[in-house]
């Protein structure tokens, strides 16, 4: 514990140093990034120990805030979330040093790094805090720091709008959390998590209320579907290394909160599981659909975060149902898959955002349809991005497949239940269908993202002039890509690493959990073998082709465009046209707007087609709601209409009303 706190304070010091050195951007960046790197590296040690089930270290200091106490403990669940958090933050910090170089002089990098470091610290604190008030404090600090990072380019109106939406959303979420903690703590008489748990077990109604509030509060941060509206706004606005951290790990603090609460609140009723399941399905499917319709690279990735959060929720839902209905296999595999996906998503989503960042950094545009042919110009970035894309599509032999595999196993397992009880097996059915659909659509989406951005010919001068980023931007991507492959090739280790955390979550005897995991381990071993086989065949074929082509003619020509003589880059398929059939198919949900300027005359000089797909929920739900509230409030403004007589009248009426109320 001490080591962890030292690490965090190291990061914090780095941040403060960066702020104080603000005069010189060079030194500020060095200090801020250095603090983050050193602190995260140091913090990873205890985090790993905790993940692997080292005895829980906790620390309790008195705190003068009433009801508050500085209680922190590093148990397996915290460790599980801390490892990806610190790892990704570390890499993002390295990446940021080069990414932000372009802003030197234009912006105060000191402030930016200070915010980044405090974002890291607050995330770390959120994950270890064991006292409600401390947790909320860290939670809000996290929101504030990330808010200032999102509004890094605050001179742009769009960015300010995004920041506003972000802070408002997260604040309204926090309001629910405030209510939840206050209610629990009032019943428990203390804000310490241990006490909260005890009372919740005693009062099921209260527990249910708390859970719903938590789903809203934490779900806003995590990006559950109706509450996700801030995500596609904020993530594109933030600098890319920040987007990576926010999308890769910060939104996971929401998941952490839910898991922690599930641990605290004791055995869950079945409807909690159902709720999570439904959320998972909607977020997953709709998330990937909206991603498919985007042509802003970072926005697309943001929607994919929603999708992956959906997958995680699916896993947690199955797990909860398993616990509720006493099916250990379902519980262990469901939670296991969900939690493993937390780590995996951190890896590949971080990777993808960093890749998108490099593209943005080099070409200056996030517009997919203006890119193309970047793989030739940015081989490192392109290759890493490809790995990430394959991983997020859940393809073997990469890590994404492993966690989805576990969730599938859980779902199939739940199907194998007793005859006749259709109801108890619907979840499995739903989960399988959803995961399959998500898988297919994700493949579609990332073939599009990778194919249009990195393959073919450049669609604009920006893309044509792009070149590879420097080592500080390449290294993190390479490391993350390696991690994705590694976790895919050695899944067994990854799964067994979950055991201590799962023991806390599923409340089953150790024997049962290990047994289930062992049961899951054999297939995983075989999968590893299959992967090996695959790679062997690939190698074999590559060599075979080399042999075959040896001594034969290998020519370079233009693309065979069905006999068309002079293909130009602008004739290529675009992202929008690539996705069009699918968006057309799901037009009912997506409600893509199309503006067409049709070509006129024999020699049309201008024709244009624009499409954009705004978020259905913010369009149909939130904007109208806010507008309605605003109109309602507007009417009340007549109260203050400037006539002194009326003001005095208010006083008199108040008095008379009070008299009649209290004396009459």
């Amino acid at each position: 514990m001490g080591l962890f706190l030292i690490a965090m304070s190291l990061v914090a010091l780095g941040g403060l140093g960066a702020l104080l050195l603000g005069r010189s951007d060079r030194w500020a960046s060095a200090c801020g990034a250095g603090g983050a790197v050193a602190g995260c590296a140091l913090g990873l040690v205890p985090a790993f120990r905790a993940l692997l089930g080292a005895p829980v270290e906790s620390l309790r200091l008195a705190w003068s805030i009433p009801g508050g106490a500085f209680v922190v403990a590093l148990d397996a669940v915290s460790g599980l979330f801390l490892v990806p958090t610190l790892f990704l933050s570390l890499l993002a910090a390295i990446y940021g040093t080069e990414y932000l170089r372009g802003f030197r002089g234009a912006k105060s990098l000191g402030a930016a790094w200070c915010c980044f470091d405090f974002l890291v610290v607050s995330m770390g604190l959120v994950l270890v805090a064991k006292n409600g008030i401390l947790f909320l404090l860290a939670w809000e600090t996290m929101a504030l720091a990330s808010f200032f990072l999102v509004t890094f380019e605050r001179e742009k109106a769009a960015v300010r709008e995004a920041g506003w939406i972000y802070l408002v959303a997260t604040h309204l979420g926090t309001a629910c959390l405030l209510a939840m903690f206050v209610l629990l703590a009032d019943a428990a008489g203390s804000f310490d998590f241990d006490d909260l748990g005890r009372v919740a077990a005693a009062a099921p109604a209260l527990a249910g209320l708390a859970f719903v509030l938590a789903v809203i509060g934490f779900g806003t941060k995590a990006g559950f579907m109706p509450l996700h509206v801030w995500l596609p706004e904020a993530h594109p606005a933030a600098p890319s290394h920040v987007s990576a951290v926010m999308s890769g790990v910060m939104i996971k603090t929401g998941i952490y909160g839910l898991v922690r609460l599930l641990v605290l609140l004791g055995p869950p009723p079945a409807w909690w599981g159902w709720l999570l399941l439904v959320i998972g399905v909607t977020s997953g499917v709709l998330g990937v659909l909206f991603a498919l319709a985007q042509h802003d690279l970072k926005r697309l990735l943001a929607y994919h975060s929603v999708e992956n959060i959906g997958i995680i929720a699916l896993g947690l839902g199955l797990g909860t149902l398993g616990v509720a209905s006493g099916m250990p296999a379902l519980a262990v595999l469901g939670y296991g898959g969900g939690l493993l996906h937390v780590i995996n998503h951190a890896l590949f989503k971080g990777l993808l955002f960093l890749g998108a960042g490099s593209v943005l950094h080099e070409t200056g545009t996030r517009e997919i349809d203006r890119l193309g042919g970047l793989l030739r110009r940015m081989p490192w970035t392109g290759t890493c991005f490809l790995v990430g894309a394959a991983a997020i599509a859940g393809l073997p032999p990469l890590n994404g497949f492993v966690s989805e595999f576990l969730i599938y196993l859980a779902a199939f397992g739940s199907l194998a239940g007793a005859e006749g009880q259709v109801m108890s097996q619907i979840p499995g059915l739903v989960a399988i269908g959803t995961l399959a659909l998500i898988g297919g659509l994700a493949t579609a989406c990332f073939t599009k993202a990778f194919g249009i951005v990195f393959l073919g010919e450049p669609r604009s001068a920006d893309a044509a002039l792009a070149k590879e980023g420097g080592p500080a931007m390449r290294l993190p991507m390479v490391l993350l890509a390696t991690a994705c492959v590694g976790a895919g090739l050695f899944p067994v280790a990854a799964v067994f690493a979950l055991t201590p955390a799962l023991l806390l979550v599923v409340r089953q005897p150790k024997a049962v959990v290990t047994a289930v995991l062992a049961g899951a381990a054999d297939p995983l071993r075989m999968i590893a073998i299959g992967a090996a086989l695959l790679l062997m065949i690939v190698a074999f074929l590559t060599i075979l082709r080399r042999l075959l082509l040896a001594g034969r003619s290998v020519e370079e020509t233009g693309t065979w465009d069905c006999g068309y003589a002079r293909p130009t880059a602008r004739m290529q398929y675009t992202a929008s046209s690539f996705a069009q059939p699918l968006t057309e198919l799901f037009g009912l949900v997506l409600r893509t707007r199309t503006r067409l300027v049709p070509p006129k005359g024999f020699f049309p000089h201008r024709a244009a087609l624009e499409t954009d797909t705004p978020d259905a929920f913010s369009e149909l739900l939130f904007r109208p709601a806010f507008a309605g509230i605003e109109r309602a409030l507007d009417r009340l403004r007549a109260l203050q209409q400037g006539r002194i007589q009326v003001y005095v009248l208010y006083i008199v009426l108040t008095l008379i009303a009070l008299m009649v109320w209290k004396l009459g």
């Binding site: 493949t443 290529q572 996705a579």
Partner: protein
């Protein structure tokens, strides 16, 4: 682990092209032509393997990787597929998923390889491919789930092994639905009529073929061979479920299986010569329908 386990994959590798031959012959028969020899696909592959290669300047290593990864993934899937009475060399609880996702991997690389050329035709083909496969995916997995639920096992070999005539008697309707769903998936995944027309000459209407426009020489050979293996693999699965001959005698099993495969090929031929390609907008309905059938089957089995 005795040597018999390598028979199925070996057979697959050898006989996959033959299916194409059979299909072509059937179509020729219906068209009243004499048609190409049964072994024509082998000759084609051989010829292609002997050729040199031509690559577009636009392309990168992805383009060259496409056919190889596609073929390797399908081949690995082949190693998971049981045939006749014989289980697959690689089998474990959950290989169903690996199977499905390996096909997905193959598709992924075929598609990006197509996009690598920057040709709008191949882009178009790719776009349709991902559309159909995205819809075929749930159908495939749900029908497999139905079988898995019925046979209480998660490995293909186990399923095919334990589906018997008895199962058909008890769960006939459900299995029939599953068979139909799988059939549709097979047609879609292998780009056959009514989903796609492999023999059309208008690139605008192609799906799978158009993605291979720029491939030549060994690469084209790999791509085609991959397609053939894919047909074989899915076919083997379908036949394995639909023709539950489970006598102890391996020869009988093998015979029944091969017979089934030939019949399947001829069926495909019949369909192709009797039906026209569906309009592209109709295809999704077909696939969603297949998914619905699979769900129905699952419900029937659960109930």
């Amino acid at each position: 682990m005795n040597w018999t386990v390598v028979i199925p994959p070996a057979a697959g590798l050898l006989l996959a092209p033959l299916l194409f031959g059979v299909i072509n012959r059937t179509k020729a028969l219906f068209a009243g032509r004499h048609g190409q020899p049964l072994l024509q696909p082998y000759f084609d592959l051989g010829k292609l393997l002997r050729k040199g290669a031509t690559y577009s300047r636009t392309t990168t290593w992805v383009f060259r990787a496409g056919p190889i990864v596609g073929l390797s993934a399908t081949a690995t899937a082949l190693a998971l597929t049981p045939m006749g009475g014989l289980p697959a060399p690689v089998r474990f609880s959950g290989d169903v998923l690996l199977f499905a996702y390996l096909l997905c991997l193959a598709r992924f690389f075929t598609v990006i390889a197509a996009l690598d050329t920057g040709s709008s035709f191949e882009g178009m083909g790719a776009s349709r491919e991902v559309l159909f496969s995205a819809l075929a995916e749930p159908a495939l997995l749900l029908s497999l789930a139905a079988v898995a639920r019925e046979t209480r096992t998660l490995s293909l070999s186990g399923m095919v092994g334990s589906v018997s005539a008895g199962t058909w008697l008890s769960q006939g309707p459900a299995l029939a639905l599953v068979a139909v769903a799988l059939g549709v998936v097979l047609l879609a995944e292998n780009a056959r009529i009514p989903v796609d027309d492999p023999t059309t000459h208008l690139e605008l209407t192609m799906i799978h073929e158009v993605m291979l426009l720029d491939h030549g020489g060994p690469d084209l050979a790999f791509a085609l061979y991959g397609a053939m293996l894919k047909l074989w693999v899915l076919g083997a699965l379908l036949v394995g479920l639909a023709v539950p001959v489970r006598s102890g005698n391996p020869l009988v099993g093998a015979g029944a299986f091969l017979g089934g495969m030939v019949v399947l090929a001829m069926l495909i031929g019949v369909v192709e010569s009797s039906m026209a390609r569906l309009r592209l907008l109709r295809v999704p309905k077909l696939l969603v329908g297949a998914t619905a059938l699979a769900v129905l089957a699952l419900i029937l089995i659960l109930g």
